[in-house]
Amino acid sequence: MITRPQVRFGMALLGCMLVLTAGQTFASAPNAYEEASSGYFRDQDTLPGTYLQYRQSKEFGGSFWGLGPGGGDLKRSSFNADAHENIYGYGVRSCVSCHEENRYDLHSSRGQITCIQCHRGRPIAGVFHYYSAMNPIRRHAYVCAKCHEGASASFATYVIHEPPPLAAATANEFPLFYYASWFMVILAVGVFSIFIPYVLLWGLRELIARFTGRRRHNHA
């Protein structure tokens, strides 16, 4: 004879199985982030964490006493699945009509690389969107390595859209880039601002010495 506690236990067991089975079904469905992307990285990735980790990680400018890149403002749209959501007239514009500052980078002006060869897929995901190929955790493998065989995560921290090295804002965006460039420019300008007037006056002095008929050089 089946006792009441045994019935209760059986019901509970059945309930647990139902819940577990339901859980199983639920887990294999795409989550909200994934649904918005290609879903391509589903097998490899875990769920999105905090975005701030990228600004603190070694690969993303946090090393070298904060002298690396990544100090500038981050756009909210860089975290969206569709970085250009709600941009008016987006469909008929070219990339550089808005991103004018990125028109001439070494990759585009010399490598003849087009924007979507790196910012790939439709819609174009923000570079920090969790499932974007451009996300720093996988950028080296899915984007850089297409041409640069063997590219590492460190390699992928090279700043493609580098700011103008001498611009004031660069001091905050990429400090070492700014200070190293200024150091070199000051060195170069310093050398020429001393030597050019110096040798011109020197040449003039030798010319005068020649025409006044005195002995030609400096112990005349």
């Binding site: 400018g61 070298f64 590492s152 390699f155 040798v199 040449g203 002095r205 030609r216 005349a220």
Partner: protein
Amino acid sequence: MLSNVKRFTTVQMMFHFALIITFMLLSVTGLAWMYIETGWGQSLASPFGGYIGALEWHRNTGLALLALFAIHIVYSIWNIDWNNFPASLLSRDSMVFQWRDVKDVFLHLGWIFGLSKGPQFDRWSWWEKFDYWAVWWGLIIVGITGLMLYNPVLSSDYMPGWLLNVALWVHRIEAVLAMAHIFTIHFFIEHWRPHCFPFSATMFEGSKDIRHLREEHPAWVARLEAEGRLEQVLVAPAPIPLRILYFGVGYALIGLGVFLLVFGLINVALLTLKL
């Protein structure tokens, strides 16, 4: 007639000539890449088979120059007078900057403005020392950044990849500084100022007319005479055909430098690089 004073050894002249060849190759291929967006840059690259070939030449020539630099460092250490070290570093034949050179700069300035008699240069004047050490400082900067950029995928295994952004701009600015300095200041001081015009072959011939040296390096000639060593360092000037060759090769290289400088300046507005 032995009218010239020996100034450079054959090894030193070979170092300088190898430096000229590698420097010019690096200048042409480097500017070809920097100006590749312009017609001028493309024509600079064409003898090397376009920009890929030009970059390959740039990398290999850069390695050759660094090897030359390494050999020169060994040579310099080898040639230090170790018996009289460290005093020998401050001898009058030494390339090391000394307090005397600082005084010479001001005496020289005084002479330019007609205020003083002018310095009595010994073996090396201050600008000769400056030009010598400028190659060291330039090669250290350009060499380190060049090695970083040689294989970016490999080098970023040992440093953050974003250092390549820094390395490329430092490499570029130092290279432009070096080229502009050689193609204006160095050429002017050694060849174009009235006392040397039109061409000084000392670095090809290894020796210089004693009359010229009595004016430019009077303390050195006086010292050689006082020590009774002048006879030992007197040599005959090179024969005329050789001097014509020195002039021809020298002016071909000077012309190349001036061509790079002038066309680089003309085309600079067409560059999309933003400083």
